[in-house]
Point group: D2
Chain length 401, copies 4
Amino acid sequence: MDYVYGPGKNHLFVPGPVNIPDPVIRAMNRNNEDYRSPAIPAMTKVLLEDVKKIFKTTSGTPFLIPTTGTGAWESALTNTLSPGDRIVSFLIGQFSLLWIDQQQRLNFNVDVVESDWGQGANLDILASKLAEDTAHTIKAICIVHNETATGVTNNLAKVRKILDDYRHPALFLVDGVSSICALDFRMDEWGVDVALTGSQKALSLPTGMGIVCASPKALEASKTAKSLRVFFDWKDYLKFYQMGTYWPYTPSIQLLYGLRAALDLIFEEGLENVIARHTRLGKATRLAVEAWGLKNCTQKEEWFSDTVTAVLVPPYIDSSEIVRRSWKRYNLSLGLGLNKVAGKVFRIGHLGHMNELQLLGCLAGVEMALKDVGYPVKMGSGVGAASAYLQNNTPLIPSRI
Amino acid sequence: MDYVYGPGKNHLFVPGPVNIPDPVIRAMNRNNEDYRSPAIPAMTKVLLEDVKKIFKTTSGTPFLIPTTGTGAWESALTNTLSPGDRIVSFLIGQFSLLWIDQQQRLNFNVDVVESDWGQGANLDILASKLAEDTAHTIKAICIVHNETATGVTNNLAKVRKILDDYRHPALFLVDGVSSICALDFRMDEWGVDVALTGSQKALSLPTGMGIVCASPKALEASKTAKSLRVFFDWKDYLKFYQMGTYWPYTPSIQLLYGLRAALDLIFEEGLENVIARHTRLGKATRLAVEAWGLKNCTQKEEWFSDTVTAVLVPPYIDSSEIVRRSWKRYNLSLGLGLNKVAGKVFRIGHLGHMNELQLLGCLAGVEMALKDVGYPVKMGSGVGAASAYLQNNTPLIPSRI
Amino acid sequence: MDYVYGPGKNHLFVPGPVNIPDPVIRAMNRNNEDYRSPAIPAMTKVLLEDVKKIFKTTSGTPFLIPTTGTGAWESALTNTLSPGDRIVSFLIGQFSLLWIDQQQRLNFNVDVVESDWGQGANLDILASKLAEDTAHTIKAICIVHNETATGVTNNLAKVRKILDDYRHPALFLVDGVSSICALDFRMDEWGVDVALTGSQKALSLPTGMGIVCASPKALEASKTAKSLRVFFDWKDYLKFYQMGTYWPYTPSIQLLYGLRAALDLIFEEGLENVIARHTRLGKATRLAVEAWGLKNCTQKEEWFSDTVTAVLVPPYIDSSEIVRRSWKRYNLSLGLGLNKVAGKVFRIGHLGHMNELQLLGCLAGVEMALKDVGYPVKMGSGVGAASAYLQNNTPLIPSRI
Amino acid sequence: MDYVYGPGKNHLFVPGPVNIPDPVIRAMNRNNEDYRSPAIPAMTKVLLEDVKKIFKTTSGTPFLIPTTGTGAWESALTNTLSPGDRIVSFLIGQFSLLWIDQQQRLNFNVDVVESDWGQGANLDILASKLAEDTAHTIKAICIVHNETATGVTNNLAKVRKILDDYRHPALFLVDGVSSICALDFRMDEWGVDVALTGSQKALSLPTGMGIVCASPKALEASKTAKSLRVFFDWKDYLKFYQMGTYWPYTPSIQLLYGLRAALDLIFEEGLENVIARHTRLGKATRLAVEAWGLKNCTQKEEWFSDTVTAVLVPPYIDSSEIVRRSWKRYNLSLGLGLNKVAGKVFRIGHLGHMNELQLLGCLAGVEMALKDVGYPVKMGSGVGAASAYLQNNTPLIPSRI
């Protein structure tokens, strides 16, 4: 009945796609509907308003595009830039690398600012580039808020400050794929021009919806941007927004109802509580890693990610074997190390709809898998460190007080 | 819980998105999974083989792209053509119009061959264009197999014959969105170079998967095509096919399991039986239209579509009112007339997972809605004409003999 | 994947189990929960209050028993009566027959009042029995409100009037299995002492919940009733009601959430509108039967049932063949004739969550099946008669006005 | 949408109802069907054969009754015994107590053999009773295989041996509610006459199906047993078995499909592997309890249960507070102490579809809750003890080798 069966639940701890809440699975358990009936536009109208809240924007315009994060990137770039435009982009891991690859293939002129994998974006170089660029040849700054490959969170407030310091008009484009709805993200306050995420990340939906939010400045830029685009063109969306029918082409009915349910859950918990939960789970994970005597791939505390932890293993161990073992023996799905850090790190995703005991079960599984591959871990050490912290810091479930 | 509630089932007869079979809804009722585990590639490998069967190709290469039909169009064009390339494209209704709009916005040089809405593609003009084009400046022929706006099916075998007659090397690109899996379609036999459909049409899935199949000649063309593309680039897919991991970016786990279930149902019924069922339901619908004393928007029998029927209403009636009325009073979803035929036609979609009694219920609803808006229909006339035909022509359900 | 597959939806028109609304299927699509947590009792408390509304009682006490209608019968009898007790019971079809069989096997002393199958309960005999019974030896009157086998609805108000006329204290026990939530039923006004239904009937849930509602007089009787019982004993329920934990043994979590959703839908539509919809669909069905030139098994209009129509076929036709044919060829599930009327009638269930077009699809299927078995029906005649009526009488869907 | 919401998954560790596997939830996610169509009897026929395998019987006759465990008890008793019959019954905890209460209220003459709660059935007394009963006045021995309230497993092989030693013909009736499909159970080998379980226990389905299996000797007894019964009467089932329609009254369609899926999963894993998994999880749980410095309510190792562990807390702690706390803060559902052991024990259910990491997550939660209520537990101690054992003893998932 299912492709590969194992007794008990699958423990899903890759940093995406993440666990879908049961009420969301229920909400999507439905037949198709006519998206041109009055019901779907009415629903969409409210969704578009509500989705702005997770970006913390009131002035932004959101687009719910039937695509993935890769498509959302392309939407951000092609709607705001013209071929040949100079952009500054930070390479700090596999996902920023892929975005840069896209930027280059779309014929932008990319200043790649590279850091060691495990470090955050080098913002000093940004400052110096902006300082030099008095002619404003730099059209956009592209940065991932949270690099999923290395568990590094960049400081976006600081990016804005640098832009402001140099009064530089470059567009500020942010990949918030593994941050938005999980980490503190403030589109308006930080003057982000395009922010984007994917449905299968902290929103905890299936893959298939790229959510892109554009500032008024980005919308203005889209009027003159010369990159060719049709499927990703905001113009078509805006035309249908104005007509009140909202969809230039067919959306997934199921994802719309799923998004409705996902937002309801987030608002019921409270976005700040959702973020605090991620902070708590991130901290607990790092305490476990420390207790195991292992190192975080992220080199400084200021970059520690609360949505994904990349764990460095000793040189005598192949981190891929930990991932394989976890899956084969414990029905635990962990993230592989990618590219430069392949074999060197494994990743624990702790984002989306997740609670303390789910994470502790995962950590117990990691301990067993570490032992399986010959790492001399003390059983219970990581779980104990994490649970000692969580026992002190977990609030009561509000609906149950 | 639901956006707009009505007692009883919604009767979904728009020509897409269509009714999802219950076993498919069940198969998709699931949590996310790690798409990098061994299970998903193993499943994908088989899916790619099986999906070729619905295109009737053995030499084609399929791509399951997380997008809609509009994106599938863009994938077909940008992977095979370069900006400025000359193409011949047939305008016969709203969806061919939109594809042509896309072709033009992507900077192709389009020879638009227009017909009256209600007629098929003018293949005589194609012949004369090919005859003149001894220098082979025409790089591609773009044609919709079935124009969903007018219920017109084009003769693809004849297109191939004309190409062959003139030994013209132009690529043959086909929009099979409302035909593949419902109408007779033969990719290899007809020498189609790119064929595409969307999951929410005859495959009877939710929206979100654009299925594009490329011939070896199209794959060859993709190596030199200069249109900028990343998200839609076949190259990335082919690279991951070769690695055996299959996905350059995250697919929808739910749609993969849904596709598996949908194909299982189609193969269990037999693709030829599925097509025969569409032929039967199409014929029954047209008999009802005739019995009501109404005209088919499609002007000649050779173009009659077995997946959608566009019904012309008398000038004193606004067809949109029939659609509104059906929805408001009978929980029946019909298709509106679009663009040039807005207000003049309404459309009955009879594609996908549907049987005789579902269609007859719809036809009974149309009769009531016609009466509601003042058309002097004899109650039962259309249903009677359709059921007289169906009673003679419906086979026993094979699994129940 | 499914036991017996057919293309398109199954058309379910047996008089139970009936079609489940999609929102109810969604609500039940869930894991188990601890029924001793605070959540389930809180939910149950509200459910018990709400369920009284469908019985139109304020003084009654409902029991949600994990059983079927047969179990609900047993609960009604064993909680209120002692072995040897004299009861009057009406035999008018297969389901009243089965209840009487139960009454006799539980050692009650049953005065069986038999009518022709197709007639209602003979209330004149009731009157004469009560008149004679000045010693009040008759402890209970047992009657089915709607006999599902013959499509006969009994006049309960008249039963109450006769009881009152003779100031007879007998308990008034009503099987409302195929009536409650579909036909006009007034527990308090009619002085019904025990009323019962099953979840899979007009409530449109899966089978598995027997809903029994007891008047204060019935509760009083239960204190002295000597029939042995444990699983069905109201006393255990009442004890847990008082403790606020509600469940003497494990309920189905899924059915509780399903009942919640089902009641929400009924209240949203309005119970009176639900009943009016059944009246409308019942009338439409009878008009179709008449148009086909067939007779209703129900002999007089006063007994016509709005939840099920039993159709008599000419002697040269085996009604079972119509049912078989409908299922094998049209994926239509009709009810067989049972016992005395086996082979003579087939039954159309038109109760529960159903709308006009669903019924018209069914009627079109019946026409085709009639033709299949050699009955000279004019195609479209029944559907036309029904739709002419429905087109005049169907209100707009309130949420869509 | 949901009654009480908490972020992340609910961790369900009550000893029933237990976690439902996702494939089973999917299988039950469906509309009703006509249970008189050819499909349901065909499915039932196979189910009845397959269900015998989980009882390890070839000669038994199973009944799938729409009821709970309490109803299954009543079915076992009333079909085999007559009022006044003498039976021997063992009181060792709350569930054996409730069964004895039922036996007494059904007017059987019960020799109650009581043990301390935490001990197994006193089989020495059984031996002496049988020795004395040369006249064979004892008609049945009633015993729970696994007392869910105290986590005590009785030795059924020994019961059979004693019966054989005294050549006593008493019926051997076994409550296998929290054992069958999880613990080693051998109906034929142990000469059990009636064995029963409930769907919501180790079968991991929703509540609503009482599964009762009768030996030929029990069937024979049912022919003369004088207890009044209709709903629970095996005779009606046997009559419909013979007719090939199988159901004397309406079954839950959803539970039938669910049972099919549940059995498929069990057979795919292998019943012996399922039992070994329970042995492993039971052992791991007890190691955690020991590491916490707490005592098992079960007084001797021979009675340790592999499906539920009742943990004794120190006198200064109220065990109910641990359960409340777990639910309120960690979304963890544990079992309360019942009746005599209320406040003194809390219970961890580890039966049904569950794997190692699920259990370890639960154990981590218990540690935090213990700390919450003031017990000086060393964080990670129990999880570490359990995972050290599990890391050594968990096999690879067969489908993933």
